[in-house]
């Protein structure tokens, strides 16, 4: 009986791990766009790599110390970005595969977020009570589509500090006023 319990525990381990990764969104539905894109970038930093990355930031430097603290709590950074030579290479259906996930329980779209970049930026946070457990950014332009997914506790004010580091693109996000969207679940 003890043997059976151990076996079941072993088999359930991946299921339990997957549950803990709820704020990770699936982006593989966008992979087909690589065939049309002039430039494709994929970044995958999982929890273990995040812990290692935290070591490189210098405690003596105020800015780096903040980033280190932020990175140490994160469980992953995932980026998928496509640039196209011409317009109309991705469809609303492509975006919908991402947005559908971001309409799920806990996800809230932030309003009053602007970006220095052209196009539209949508920022979503995954709340567990008052705590933020994940962030997703969807940046769309006529010739560009970028999805950034940060798994773990992160807020918009700190996101800016990650831009240009750890594979996070420079999104030029400027938080103005954090407000929960009324129509969210």
């Amino acid at each position: 009986m003890k043997l059976l319990s151990i076996a079941l525990l072993l088999m359930l381990t991946p299921v339990l791990s997957a549950k803990a990764q709820d704020s990770r969104i699936q982006m593989s539905s966008l992979d087909h766009l690589a065939a049309k894109a002039s430039q494709t970038v994929d970044v995958n930093l999982d929890e273990r790599l995040m812990r290692l990355a935290a070591r490189v930031f210098d405690d003596k430097d105020t800015d780096e110390r903040e980033v280190k603290k932020l990175v140490a709590g994160l469980k992953g950074i995932y980026v998928k970005s496509f640039e196209f030579d011409t317009e109309g290479q991705y469809t609303p259906g492509d975006l919908e595969t991402i947005r559908t996930q971001l309409r799920g329980p806990g996800w809230t779209r932030l309003v009053n977020v602007t970006s220095k970049k052209d196009g539209m930026v949508e920022v979503y946070l995954l709340f567990n009570g008052d705590a933020v457990n994940g962030l997703a950014v969807l940046h769309t332009d006529d010739k560009e589509l970028t999805v950034v997914n940060i798994v773990g506790p992160v807020d918009l004010d700190k996101l800016a500090k990650l831009e240009g580091q750890l594979g996070v693109p420079d999104l030029g996000i400027e938080p103005q006023k954090k407000t929960k969207n009324d129509d969210e679940k």
Binding site: L8, Q39, D42, V43, A53
Partner: protein, 180 residues
């Protein structure tokens, strides 16, 4: 009952990712062969690679003097260089094949593919005890490089902080070292 439990235990153990990972061979050579086959850049056996414009070398990394800093651990560098050959092919298909071949043991860190410029950069990571193996593959229209190095956790952190920059530095370091 005991037999069923034992069977489940064995199946669960076999399906554990760590055990799947053990079932692979030399991925560096596999990647080199894959490039050769996909792009038809080699038609000779390994001893004749130099004639075909490809060099394979396992270099002993040497610590330079002055301010130079080594990224790779000493003696860990495996390098394959394809020079002045035609890399004409479907980059998306190649990327897909490469990921399929490496996804069991290697973790994709960053992949940059430019279909219009036919430029590709792939960086994969693999656990190597207290250190890490890094595989950097760069391909452009005429040249390609495959580099595998071992990194300390400290240098891995540098790679994670700036994947593209450090990936390029690893390739440059290995290439320069090979020419010394």
């Amino acid at each position: 009952m005991k037999a069923i439990a034992t069977t489940i235990l064995i199946v669960a153990f076999v399906l554990t990712p760590a055990n799947v990972a053990l079932a692979t061979g030399d991925d560096f050579n596999s990647v080199v062969k894959m490039i050769e086959q996909f792009y038809r850049v080699k038609h000779e056996g390994l001893p004749f690679l130099a004639k075909a414009g490809m060099k394979v070398a396992t270099t002993a990394a040497r610590i330079k003097g002055g301010d130079a800093k080594r990224i790779a651990e000493a003696g860990s560098v495996k390098l394959a260089v394809f020079e002045d050959q035609k890399f004409d092919g479907d980059v998306v298909k190649f990327r897909s094949s490469l990921n399929e071949a490496l996804n069991v043991t290697w973790m994709p860190l960053i992949q940059t593919v430019s279909a219009t410029d036919q430029e590709q950069v792939y960086i994969f990571l693999k656990d190597a005890g207290d250190k890490f193996n890094v595989l950097v593959i760069t391909i452009d229209q005429r040249d390609a490089t495959v580099v595998q190095v071992t990194l300390s956790p400290r240098n891995l952190a540098l790679l994670l902080k700036d994947p593209e920059g450090t990936g390029k530095a690893i390739t440059q370091e290995a290439t320069i070292n090979d020419q010394e």
